[in-house]
């Protein structure tokens, strides 16, 4: 490190541990290096085990994306077996997963992201006193309301999945609990109460009104609820110009039922969406403390370099799609799905504003999905089929966690796990440089961030990092 550099850590209010090294020039970030400082080794841990054990082990990679991990593992197993879950089983899996994603968005907005605007550094701004009352870390009224609403919404997971996190309810053939007519009514009541919270507190309006926004200008004019306070702050601090990403976005598509996904899959670039081909994925190891060759996850391995030798600077591999970086997350998902507001925001590039607005939009849209799915439960139907796994085979499981695209790639040989590779959303977003020296999406987004005099942990850097809603425990796993 040279004299002008900053080492930022412990970087909190992200899930897990994160360190960022910044090169500063003329009061701006000139280059950023993102380090995921924790290696646990879930992939090698799984080798040699019974394939079904992945359903118990992989959710425990992450306490915040636990159901996402569980759904990806179940899908990879189903794919290896060449089957699909029962339609009602897939519906309940979507409901469980949707509740987790909703809760994660709520936790991010209220507990992780907004508290930075209550910092003394913003004293004197028109909105600062309101931000302090609502969003002071651990004390603000919005945090307490959000925590209660979240705990109540998770009753749906308690009912259908036993507990959150780390449920074993989602299986390749469906789910382990057949809900009754009474359960369906309870789920409906929980969702009605949650809608009231969203409309009274988060949006100050029907969720449909937020979904109907079609342009950045309409968004910037939104004044109601905590969303309105965020927009007021975003307008004042120009968060729409802060933290611009690579301009390429990927989504695996969320909530599979049959052959359809409620938010569609694809890759967005230069104003159009093209189909996603996961065969184009490679994990580059040039700047990771990992041994071996760059590879597609079906052939990849995880062998940590115990000497942590240079030029490595992170345990995180660098996934690339057709050789390029892509951004993933709620904004990417809404953009790939073709929502008008996301499309308009994308003309200015992804930014702190776009990422957080994408999440708010998805909160509103997910409420409608959850209500629709709860209505579609038919207690008389079958919720779980037994599945026979092949002795030899491969499976791919692709889901959307709250923070973006999550993939599991499984290989079975002689009835045991012979290969298991995982690429998590933050592996994409917070990847280190690749062999061409191209920085990862966050590393690129931090370039140009302002560093005010005397700042050792620049506020702009914090907003940009947290706008991605990183999950560092998933990143390296």
């Amino acid at each position: 490190m040279s004299a002008g550099d900053l080492l930022v850590g412990p970087f909190n209010r992200v899930e897990g541990d994160l360190e960022v090294r910044l090169e500063i020039e003329d009061a701006r970030v000139k280059a950023a290096y993102v380090n995921s400082p924790l290696f646990r080794g879930f992939e090698p841990m799984l080798l040699g085990k019974s394939p079904m054990d992945a359903l118990t082990i992989t959710p425990r990679i992450c306490g915040i994306c636990s159901i996402s991990q569980s759904a990806a593992a179940a899908q990879a197993l189903a794919n290896a077996a060449g089957i699909q879950p029962t339609p009602q089983g897939a519906l309940i899996a979507a409901l469980l997963h949707g509740v987790e994603n909703m809760c994660d968005h709520l936790t991010h907005f209220n507990l992780f992201f907004m508290p930075d605007f209550a910092r003394p550094g913003y004293a004197g701004r028109l909105w600062h006193e309101r931000a302090m009352a609502r969003f002071t870390a651990m004390k603000g009224s919005a945090l307490r309301q959000a925590t209660e609403a979240r705990a109540q919404l998770l009753h749906i997971v308690g009912l259908l999945g036993g507990k959150w996190p780390h449920t074993l309810a989602i299986q390749p053939g469906g789910v382990t609990r057949a809900p009754t007519a009474r359960d369906r009514i309870r789920i409906g009541s929980t969702l009605t109460a949650f809608r009231r919270y969203l409309e009274d507190v988060v949006f100050g309006a029907p969720v449909e009104a937020f979904i109907e926004l079609t342009s950045t200008n309409e968004l910037r004019a939104w004044t109601r609820g905590d969303a309105g306070l965020f927009i007021e702050i975003a307008n004042d601090l120009e968060l729409g110009r802060m933290g611009i990403g690579p301009g390429r976005y990927m989504s695996f598509g969320a909530y599979p039922q049959g052959n359809a996904r409620s938010f569609g899959p694809g890759v967005w670039e230069d104003g159009s969406v093209r189909p996603l081909d996961t065969a184009d994925i490679r994990e580059d190891l040039s700047h990771a403390w990992m041994l071996g060759e760059d590879a597609h996850p079906t052939r990849g391995q995880t062998a940590p370099d115990e000497d942590m030798s240079e030029p490595g600077y992170s345990w995180c591999k660098a996934p690339r799609l057709a050789g390029q970086t892509v951004e993933t997350g709620a904004f990417a998902r809404q953009l790939v799905d073709g929502h008008a507001l996301a499309n308009d925001l994308a003309t200015q590039g992804s930014s702190v504003l776009a990422r957080v607005a994408g999440r708010l939009l998805e909160i509103a849209r997910t409420q409608l999905l959850l209500e629709r799915w709860a209505d579609a439960i038919v207690p008389e139907k079958r919720f779980l089929d037994e599945v026979t796994l092949p002795n030899h085979g491969e499976g791919e499981g692709l889901v959307e966690a709250a923070r973006g695209s999550l993939g599991h790639w499984l290989r079975i040989e002689e009835g045991r796990i012979a290969g298991y590779q995982i690429i998590a959303p933050t592996t994409w977003n917070f990847s280190p440089r690749d062999g061409d020296g191209t920085p990862g999406p966050l590393e690129a987004a931090l370039v140009g961030a302002k560093v005010e005099p005397g700042e050792d942990t620049p506020l702009a850097v914090q907003h940009i990092v947290r706008s991605f809603d990183p999950c560092m425990v998933c990143t390296v796993h």
Binding site: P10, T147, P165, T457
Partner: protein, 330 residues
């Protein structure tokens, strides 16, 4: 009472679970009991430089520390260095930090089975050489030595669970704050007895099936999961079916087995998690405090006496035969 919370090598799920506390929410509950976080990595405002100063002040003794709470296992690899987890911004391993801070604390609390015994992070070949704060699986002596006691004189308080129930964590904190958690309140593995004196079996809705050994053949069926599906609820400590999770939930209520996640080495059962290992057709691992011969005798007797209702419902995913309504005498 102040709490410094560190997240070591785990999934963060015990904090996520803690946020599910209800009646009142976790912030009001802890605040009401006079418990405040000096710093919590997921919840506090302070980041970077502010945290470095705080950690320094605690380490030097300038800020007296009441409770050190550690979530996640402690990584000792590679080669004993602990460098598989460097606490970001500090240039020091989490192993080093925990060893340095633990003696400063009035109480040390390990939150979750990773922190208590190594947990899931030590599964398989234990690639990162994970241990618990004071245990390495069943063996006493982890990141801290076997004989370690914090300033209070207590060993590390092991709030085990994967994840922990929010109440297990809050009630431990509240008992400590009230001065009501003494050595005899912990079991032989350091777990608070207020939840570890119960078994997951207690209040399990499958109890009637267990009584008759009416077993589920596959997941989602209503019958008892002990005989075929790997359930160890009769041996696992925890009041999971008494107090309920996320409302009224529990693993067995959701149709999948208890995997004994409050115990050391649950992560390596030596058989697939959802299959019961058997010897000569008899499940290995019967209830711990019951003579085996008696268990077998009672099981064969009760199996023979199984009512049709229980026999049929046990292998169904919903109740197909309801209880009979007794006709009133004319």
């Amino acid at each position: 009472m102040n709490v410094l919370w560190l997240q070591s090598a785990g999934c963060g799920g015990c904090t996520m679970s803690l946020l599910c506390a209800e009646g009142p929410n976790v912030f009001d509950l802890l605040d009401g009991a006079g418990i405040e976080f000096l710093w919590h990595p997921a919840l506090s405002e302070a980041t970077g430089g502010e945290v470095l100063s705080l950690l320094g002040a605690v380490e030097s003794g300038e800020i007296p520390l009441d409770i050190l709470a550690v979530e996640g296992s402690i990584l000792t690899g590679p080669k004993g260095t602990g460098r598989f987890h460097m606490l970001s911004g500090t240039g020091r391993s989490m192993l080093d930090w925990v060893k340095s801070l633990a003696p400063k604390a009035q109480h040390v609390m390990a939150v979750g089975t990773c922190a208590t015994y190594g947990g899931i992070t030590s599964a398989g070949g234990n690639p990162a050489s994970a241990v618990g704060v004071q245990y390495d699986g069943h063996h006493r002596g982890g990141a801290l030595p076997a004989e370690f006691c914090s300033r209070s004189g207590l060993p590390v308080i092991n709030v085990a669970g994967c994840p922990t129930h929010p109440d297990w964590v809050t009630e431990t904190l509240l008992l400590l704050a009230a001065g009501h958690l003494e050595a005899e309140a912990l079991d032989s593995l350091g777990r608070p007895r207020f939840y570890a004196d119960h078994l997951v079996h207690h209040a399990c809705p499958k109890n009637e099936y267990y009584e008759y050994k009416a077993s589920a053949q596959s997941l989602s069926q209503l019958g008892c999961m002990m005989e075929h599906l790997g359930c160890i609820g009769t041996q696992a400590v925890g009041d999971c079916n008494i107090r309920g999770w996320n409302g009224d939930g529990s693993c067995t209520r959701a149709g999948y087995p208890c995997i004994n996640c409050t115990a050391p080495e649950f992560e390596e059962p030596n058989h697939p998690f959802t299959e019961t290992p058997k010897f000569a057709g008899i499940p290995v691992g019967l209830p711990t405090d019951m003579p085996k011969a008696w268990f077998m005798a009672l099981a064969s007797l009760s199996k023979a006496a199984t009512p049709k209702r229980i026999e049929e419902n046990a292998v169904s995913d919903r109740i197909t035969v309801p209880p009979q309504v007794k006709a009133r005498k004319p």
